[in-house]
């Protein structure tokens, strides 16, 4: 096998064949987390720095646990405790971090494009943990893995993504990845939260949720990003919940074997309520479990082998 990527910046850059490789390997790494001794020596002596310039629970923990289970050393830095707040530019910060010789930087940043620039300018691996409204490649991979684990294949799977598509890097990465893998995608949300140009994405779009629910194998609810939204996008949480929230009635409209996904964190009572989040069809916690396995796989692929793979 040959892995040509130093970095994981966007699903856009990864071929369908490479996505398959990642999804196939992740099962091996998942098994490690089930052992009593949850650690392999593979990345001993490698340093992984996590730079999170935006709040995160799951992704940051998941990356850190993944790196530690492969025996890499991890250092995590968040914006509030760093000199970013003193006015240092992000490129200066990155160069200084690089001077301490990490093998990998995991970066989350509130604006699109920084991981791409770091990947181009720094010799170490750069893994994008979410950049602005652009991409969140590791989330899409763990989502695809969770779907594949449940259904066996992604080809022909009907995936419905609901909510704030416009501001969602999760939706963007999933749409790109799922299309490459041959899934059929439907996006649903209020018109104000659909991205401009969505008609060119090659997906089905419906501003009404109820008519499209019965076709879906996967119903993926997106978080209403309160921190990014103001009142101009929809008139209120209650109204949003009424039209786009996943509740008992809508769960009953789903196919018998369809599953519910959510990238977290959930706003219970807004885009999803207890009846949906905690029911048997929900694979939300499987997604979190699989996140560790996917990130272990990516760390192994990007840091594990020799550099001479051109």
């Amino acid at each position: 096998m040959n892995w040509p990527h130093k970095d994981i910046v966007a699903i856009q850059d990864i071929s369908a064949e490479e996505i398959s490789t990642i999804l196939d390997m992740a099962g091996t790494f998942k098994e490690i987390s089930k052992r009593d001794i949850k650690k392999v020596p593979t990345l001993r002596g490698k340093t992984v720095i996590l730079l999170f310039y935006e709040a995160s629970t799951r992704t940051r923990l998941s990356f850190e646990i993944a790196a530690k289970r492969l025996s890499a050393d991890t250092v995590a830095l968040s914006a509030s405790g760093s000199s970013f707040s003193k006015g240092e530019t992000i490129m200066d910060a990155a160069q200084n971090v690089m001077a301490m010789a990490p093998d990998c930087i995991v970066i989350r940043y509130p604006y699109a494009g920084l991981p791409f620039r770091l990947a181009k300018e720094l010799p170490c691996s750069v893994l994008n943990a979410g950049d602005g409204f652009h991409e969140h490649p590791t989330q899409a991979l763990l989502d695809m893995y969770s779907m594949k684990e449940h259904f066996g294949s992604l080809k022909g799977l009907n995936v419905l993504i609901v909510g704030d598509i416009r501001h969602s890097r999760v939706a963007r990465s999933n749409v790109i990845g799922l299309k490459k893998m041959g899934a059929n995608i439907t996006l649903s949300g209020p018109k104000t939260l659909l991205p401009p140009g969505v008609d060119t994405w090659g997906v089905k779009v419906s501003t009404e949720l109820d008519p499209v629910i019965p076709e879906a194998d996967v119903v993926m609810m997106l978080r209403v990003q309160k921190e990014r939204l103001n009142q101009q996008f929809f008139s209120g949480e209650r109204e949003y919940s009424l039209f786009y929230g996943l509740n008992r009635q809508r769960v009953d409209m789903m196919k018998r074997d369809a599953v519910i996904m959510h990238p977290g964190p959930m706003n219970r009572g807004v885009e999803i309520n207890h009846d949906a989040a905690d029911c048997k069809r929900s694979i939300i916690l499987n997604q979190v479990e699989n996140g560790v396995a996917i990130r272990m796989t990516l760390l192994y692929l990007c840091l594990g082998g020799g550099k001479n793979v051109d």
């Binding site: 096998m1 040959n2 892995w3 390997m25 099962g27 091996t28 790494f29 098994e31 490690i32 052992r35 009593d36 001794i37 650690k39 392999v40 020596p41 593979t42 990345l43 002596g45 490698k46 492969l70 192994y300 692929l301 594990g304 082998g305 020799g306 001479n308 793979v309």
Partner: protein, 173 residues
């Protein structure tokens, strides 16, 4: 030093000898388990367990290890070792483990396999069984049960396809 056995019958005979040796050496059949190193060792382990079933009447526990994540040369390699899965469906705690590989050479695979096994638990002891010992050790590791000691120049690699009984010898690229 013996000639390299090249056909199914010869390999079958060696496997019978090996299972005889094991049959005489192991006393606690209820407390042992076989673990083959993927992929060559896995097939040998399967054969040996099959032969021992005929002698002991027991279905002895059998597992397989993938040692890719335990290699000591991961950051030195040009290519990525293929990662397969480890499947040891029994607890190794307090067991006598018979670790099985097809060819013992540098000893590095065995070192990696031992490290992997101790991550799964704490066996009472680990034996090593190999079909061929070709010498050339780089670590202080020896096998307890050896099919044949063979002499092979350093630049040659040997591959055994046990299902067909083929032994392929080729040059290192």
């Amino acid at each position: 030093m013996s000639e390299i056995p090249m056909n199914t019958n010869e390999i079958e005979a060696i496997l019978r000898e090996l299972s005889d040796k094991l049959f005489n050496a192991i006393t606690k059949w209820d407390n042992c388990g076989f673990i083959g190193i993927r992929s060559g060792g896995e097939l040998i382990a399967k054969k040996v367990v099959e032969l021992l079933r005929q002698k002991t009447g027991k279905d002895l526990p059998l597992g397989a290890l993938d040692i890719a994540l335990y290699r000591d040369d991961i950051s030195k390699r040009l290519y990525y070792p293929e990662v397969r899965s480890t499947d040891v469906p029994f607890s190794v705690d307090e067991k006598e483990i018979i670790l099985v590989d097809d060819v013992l050479h540098t000893g590095r695979s065995v070192r990696a396999a031992i490290d992997h096994i101790v991550d799964l638990g704490r066996p009472e002891r680990i034996y090593l069984l190999v079909l061929f010992d070709r010498g050339g050790r780089e670590l202080p590791i020896q096998a307890d049960f050896v099919g044949r000691v063979i002499d092979l120049p350093e630049e040659k690699i040997i591959k055994i396809d046990i299902s067909k009984g083929d032994v392929l010898i080729s040059e290192v690229k």
